[in-house]
Amino acid sequence: MSTSSLVDNSLVAQYALQLGDDALILSQRLSEWCAHSPELEEDVALANLALDLLGQARTLLTYAGTLEGRGRSEDDLAFLRTEREFRNVLLVEQPNGDFAVTIARQLYFATYQYELYTALRESTDAEFAGLAAKAVKEVAYHRDHAVQWTLRLGDGTEESHRRMQEGLDLLWPYTAELFAADSVALALAETGVAVDPRTLRPAWEASIAAVIEAATLTMPGGSWQPRGGRAGEHTEGFGLLVGEMQALHRQFPGAAW
């Protein structure tokens, strides 16, 4: 529970949903790689990343359900909300593409999560602080995995260099939303519960730029900055992802699994 009675529980619940949905949806995307990856080692690695993220999502969704006080469980939140009720950023719902697109998404998001959880360890909310202290160790590995592959694909063959650059360019516009001035996060940042997303950008960008340079790649640019995930306005493919994830659960209303 939040440590301060002055903190609006419904805001904290919304923040938990934002972070929980990010983790849940990226986990769902990563698990689509199962038995399709380029090497057996990557089948292990990608499943492991998905599993870590799913664990974070479960903690956060459970917490959100407790705070909102409507008796909703992690499963109610994962399987019985509509597309418009999910609060994840657009980046995590983007399709896997080829391996380079997946690695670009991992590089951007794991680096962001690393900065986020590092800061969130100091949260005045004991639940967030505890989750962040555990999860930061996990995402440090996720980031390392993405960095290692960015280096290899960027400085590998001509084809891998081209694909990695395309992956970075394709997903770059979606990174702006990670650091947007979201009203929920800003309100909670004032009381030290949440992290102001804008403050994470400099360290994130420096880190990404260093990797991109070492990988002989070029920092993407451009002014298009799609967003809307935090407000439940997602991309078209998201409905299919949610439909697949929820189909079985919704087929048997009220059943226990």
Binding site: S31, C34, V44, A57, L61, R163, F252, A255
Partner: protein, 362 residues
Amino acid sequence: MTAEGSAGTEGAAGVAGAAGAEAAAGAARPGAAPRELQARFEELIAADERVEPRDWMPEAYRKTLVRQIAQHAHSEIIGMQPEGNWITRAPSLRRKAILLAKVQDEAGHGLYLYAAAETLGVDRADLLDALHTGRQKYSSIFNYPTLTWADIGAIGWLVDGAAIINQIPLQRCSYGPYARAMVRICKEESFHQRQGFELLHDLAHGTPEQHAMAQDALDRWWWPSLMMFGPPDAESAHSAQSMAWRIKRHSNDDLRQRFVDISAPQAEALGLTIPDPDLRWNEERGHYDFGEIDWSEFQEVLAGNGPCNRQRVAQRVRAHEDGEWVRQAALAYAAKQEAKLAAKPAANLSENPSETKEVVAA
């Protein structure tokens, strides 16, 4: 997930026969391994000690092991497909986490087993090529589809259950690296089996629709699971050689009987009915009697005509081909790093993660 029957209980009958013939020829061939080496090998086997990679071994023994370990490894990675089919649709987050962890284990088992095979002087890439071109087999059970969520439970309970019965004796297999890989794999498989039973238990005690789903899964997976132990002893020609080499320790029919004896009361506990009207306890034998297995179905699936044979191999090949550029990139990167290291060690951006992290933090 499964070591099916014994070495080549399915699929490679011709190959196994050839290997046996070679063993005989090898022993008689002039200039073959000195008599002492053969004698030492036989002593090891007789004393129930382990043969290690550096020990001399008959060529036929090596080939039999390569074929069996490769088939086992291939089964692990092909087995990821029918289970992976349900990860994105798992009906609760807890079940999703369990299934993800399980499928990740299967990939890990594949890795240990390919590594164990590599101690026998073969290369993982060549073994994968043999899988992709149909020269090596995987367990036929994975040529059946996972049509409902209950199939995930049935695979855990029955398929992993059968695999454990096959694999427990393999922990004492005469070849050290395979035996040791089996110790770890068996521990993980017992978790897999338990989660499958628990999943089915929840379904069988859930709504009438869930119960029906569980029964339907048992109806479809029971007989193929019995076939996992391989053909009847009378028709399993090369089992004898594997038993003599202590690669295999029990006959196919003995293991199958053990599986039926364990599974029948478990089905009762689940409240599900095994689809065999002839299944009943035989007081005199101290075992369950069970009905005739339709071996023509087994042969059909083995011959490539199961519901999913083509699909499984095609997906495997597609993943491998789609990943070719990634593997090439990793090799090219490694070669460049090596060249840089040779030219100017200090400037190297090595594999060492701590050095990479400096770059990240820069």
